[in-house]
């Protein structure tokens, strides 16, 4: 086994002001292996990866490759020279350049670029990895999955021995994920060691050989995939036995006040300039419903239209049977609608501002330009929600950007809950966050609904929707194609409706 080792990390330590992010973590990777690195947000996965790739300098511990002497990785360049390549969740290539240019940019040793040779070489690699792109094609014209693969091809061609894939699948649909997995298996057979970071358990069990689990900056253990059933993996990540997920709906009684049939919001023929067909929609008090459909089917565009985030072209919206005009987000907020956007980084967080400012922002805007909260009041609001949602942060003054993904999401959630909305729209609130927080959020949604809040819950993971929603609006090709409620809300029916049973009629 030993001569098979391509990477060995021993006793890695890393601290940040106020946090010990890694506590003597061991990690090893064999040749031709796909090794999953699992853990909740804040467990130390990202930190470990960043130490390995030279983004952070480790405080202690040893790293060696191929059984040789210890190496020192102090910069991303060192990592690259050592044969460690990374493909991040967000694609870090230049969309306006061609595929070949992207593969060779910043690598040429000679000053003169031999375009023809470059294109030929690139094509050869693309073909050998079976990537459906041509070298001279502009990168932006490829699908996200193909772009992801080009990034991998670039990494592989740089003679990498260790390939790190940091959540590569989070913006891919199922078929694209399949293609990516095929590529990963190909690379594995060529002897590349792959570190795979993901939140999707299914994917781990589909492609990985071994799993290393981290929790709170420490190593929980390293397991062969066959020895660790799913439930146990989750338990190890959380450090406790998992609640029976399938039962959370039953645990929270549905809201059944006198006004349970009151329609909170009703949209008719609503259309925005984001390219969706006009749609009708309604939601009752204390109801949890969801929009489902494939990526790009228009789920987000619908809720954005309701919130006034895109320009409204036509249609009417009634709240409690009274016509309201929602032209911009502030109008929606004034009517008690809150919207947690799909892309946390682009639309959610205000990176350099403190957790406190991020929490109070929406309510502050709603309160008015000339009525800023006092420092004490803002602090009290922030502390209340940091406690309520169990947000892990050094203090309310910490910039939100330095929090882990799941905690950032909780801050954004806190921002909207602080507004005490009547109708809460959650667009992919659980994307890219750990299992524990996912369950917390799902539970919270049901709890809020039982108190009378109406919630729209959108998720790419169908089972999550099944667990939380009592009614599902199904979308395909930017229009609503069906609605499922009660017993119809199950995997089979959803797939059928998405696939378009009635379309063949």
């Amino acid at each position: 086994m030993e001569e098979n080792r391509v990477l060995e990390m021993r006793g890695i330590e890393k601290s940040f002001p106020g946090v010990r992010a890694l506590r003597g973590v061991d990690f090893s990777l064999n040749k031709g292996e796909i090794h999953a690195l699992m853990g909740e947000n804040g467990a130390g996965k990202s930190t470990l990866i960043k130490v390995l790739t030279g983004v952070y300098t480790k405080d202690g511990g040893r790293i060696s490759m191929q059984g040789a002497e210890d190496i020192h990785i102090n910069s991303p360049q060192d990592a690259q020279n050592a044969g460690i390549s990374t493909v991040y969740q967000e694609i870090t290539l230049c969309p306006n350049l061609t595929v070949a240019e992207n593969m060779y940019i910043g690598r040429g040793k000679s000053r003169i670029t031999k375009w023809k040779k470059m294109n030929e070489d690139a094509d050869k690699i693309l073909r050998s990895l079976d990537i459906p792109a041509s070298a001279s094609q502009q990168l932006a014209s490829c699908s996200i999955a193909v772009q992801q693969m080009v990034a991998i091809a670039r990494a592989v061609d740089m003679d990498c021995k260790v390939l790190i894939l940091d959540e590569p699948t989070s913006s891919l649909d199922e078929q694209e994920v399949e293609k990516l997995f095929k590529l990963m298996r190909d690379l594995k057979s060529k002897g590349v060691g792959i570190i795979f970071v993901t939140h999707f358990l299914d994917q781990v069990y589909e492609v990985c050989d071994r799993i290393t689990v981290l929790r709170d900056g420490g190593l929980v253990g390293e397991y062969a995939i066959a020895d660790l059933p799913r439930v146990e993996l989750v338990a190890k990540m959380l450090g406790k036995e998992m609640d029976d997920l399938s039962d959370i709906k039953g645990a929270n009684a549905a809201y059944c006040g006198e006004d349970a049939d009151d329609i909170v919001l009703e949209a008719e023929g609503l259309q925005s300039d984001a390219g969706i067909k006009p749609f009708n929609f309604h939601i009752k008090k204390g109801e949890v419903n969801g929009f489902t459909g494939l990526l790009g089917s228009g789920r987000s565009e619908c809720v954005r239209a309701i919130f006034g985030a895109d320009r409204i072209l036509q249609g009417s919206v009634k709240m409690h049977k009274k016509e309201v005009k929602i032209k911009k987000p502030l109008d929606a907020m004034k009517n008690g609608i809150a919207y947690l956007p799909e892309d946390r980084k682009i639309d959610g967080i205000i990176g350099e501002l403190s957790v406190r400012d991020n929490i109070i922002l929406a309510l502050q805007v709603l309160t008015g330009f000339f009525k800023p909260f006092s420092k004490a009041k803002a602090q009290a609001f922030a502390e209340e929600y940091i406690k309520k949602l169990n947000i892990k942060t050094a203090s309310a003054d910490t910039p939100i950007a330095s929090l882990s993904g799941g905690n950032q999401q909780k801050v954004i959630l806190a921002r909207w809950l602080l507004m005490h909305p009547e109708y809460l729209i959650l667009d992919e609130p659980t994307r890219g966050i750990d299992v524990g927080t996912k369950v917390d959020i799902q539970k919270l949604v049901l709890e809020l609904a039982s108190q009378g809040m109406s919630v729209t819950f959108i998720s790419s993971e169908t089972d999550e929707m099944i667990r939380t929603c009592s009614r599902l609006v199904v979308m395909r090709d930017r229009k609503i194609v069906g609605e499922l409620s009660g017993d119809e809300v199950n995997q089979g029916r959803i797939m059928e409706t998405i696939a378009g049973g009635e379309a063949k009629k």
Binding site: P17, P341, I350, E352, A362, F369, P372, R415
Partner: protein, 354 residues
């Protein structure tokens, strides 16, 4: 000693304060008379304070006023307004036109000074509106958008008065850039204090600070939180326009007339430097108004020091540039990180010995 070195190093005001201390030391060594303040009669026969420190207070004040507006523009738009000097000429020229009624050597004021100032305010804000519209609605980069008035501004200013140089006849008009009889401190100091107080109140009793920072850091997410980023950017330029009008009053008052090609020349660079020196990112986002104001006075301190060293006025910008490079490099995150790493290493070493 329980001073947290890391915390100290990460303080935004560390660099400007260090710069100030160094400048003071240099002057102390070179010629301690730099710090003497004399009370002597001036040209008009009133007793007033004079000396390099008073010069810094006087000329630093107009810079501080501009720095307030420039900080907001920088934070909201992530860019800078380079038309400040030219718009001072426009606002000043408009004020002269109103005060002198289009006559080059009037016997008496054609309108009360307050009216002239209000007109300057309106003109200054209109320039801000123009820049603001280009930046916020048409999404032109601030430096490019303001390049228009930077280029055309001084010609517009000359055109307003038919290229004449009217002289304001009322001696009271000279008070704003000089001294009020009986008060030995330059009037600009009081004007700057008033502006700073207004800015401080604005930041405390409205959400201008929060909104501006939010827009500067993440426009898209600010919009989804109900903020109108277009308006906030626009507003920042209009506020700067108001600051420009105040600076124009001081500038024109100093001479009681105007020189279109020279008035407030290169002042935009000093104002931008003041913002940078105060530790604010020129790419926008978070800002510290106190840093910018302090920065403004330090820039003036530097200028006065260089004059003291008999640097030729024409060579001044080159010397300034060198100093500025040093300051800006030291305040860059790269150097800061290295410094704080160094200090933590030292600490660790000290622990090891113990």
């Amino acid at each position: 000693m329980k001073i947290d070195i890391k915390k100290l190093l990460s303080n935004q005001l560390l660099i400007p304060i260090t710069a100030l201390v160094i400048l003071c030391l240099v002057n102390l060594v070179n010629d301690a008379s730099f710090f003497t303040i004399k009370l002597a009669p001036n040209n008009e026969g009133y007793n007033v304070f004079s000396g390099p420190l008073i010069t810094i207070l006087d000329y630093g004040s107009e810079l501080a006023i501009l720095a307030i507006g420039m900080t907001l523009v920088t934070a909201a738009s992530g860019g800078q307004d380079i038309s400040v000097g030219a718009t001072i000429a426009i606002a000043g020229s408009a004020m002269l036109r109103v005060l002198c009624g289009g006559v080059s050597k009037p016997e008496a004021l054609a309108a009360p000074i307050i009216v002239g100032f209000l007109v300057a305010c309106i003109v200054g804000m209109l320039c801000g509106v123009f820049n603001g519209l280009l930046v916020s609605i048409f999404r032109i980069q601030p430096m490019i958008a303001t390049l228009i008035l930077f280029t055309a501004g001084r010609s517009i200013a000359a055109w307003i008065n038919n290229n004449e140089l009217p002289i304001v006849p009322d001696p009271k008009f000279k008070y704003f850039g000089g001294f009020i009889p009986g008060i030995p401190i330059p009037t600009t100091t009081f004007i700057a204090i008033a502006c700073i107080v207004v800015a401080a109140l604005l930041l405390k009793f409205t959400n201008l600070g929060l909104y501006t920072q939010a827009v500067g850091i993440n426009e898209s997410s600010s919009r989804l939180n109900g903020i109108n980023p277009t308006f906030i950017k626009f507003l920042s330029f209009v506020i700067l326009g108001l600051c420009v009008a105040v600076a124009a009053l001081i500038k024109v008052s100093r001479l009681a007339t105007i020189n279109y090609s020279v008035i407030a020349k290169d002042i935009e660079m000093d104002a931008i430097l003041a913002v940078a020196l105060g530790g604010n990112a020129l790419s926008g986002g978070k800002f510290n108004m106190w840093g910018s104001i302090l920065g403004a006075y330090i820039i003036q301190f530097l200028t006065t020091t260089l004059y003291k060293f008999q640097v030729d006025a024409a060579a001044l910008p080159a010397y300034k540039a060198v100093v500025v490079i040093i300051l800006v490099v030291f305040s860059s995150p790269v150097v800061r990180e290295k410094l704080s790493a160094l200090s933590s290493k030292k600490k660790a070493a000290a622990k090891g010995v113990a």
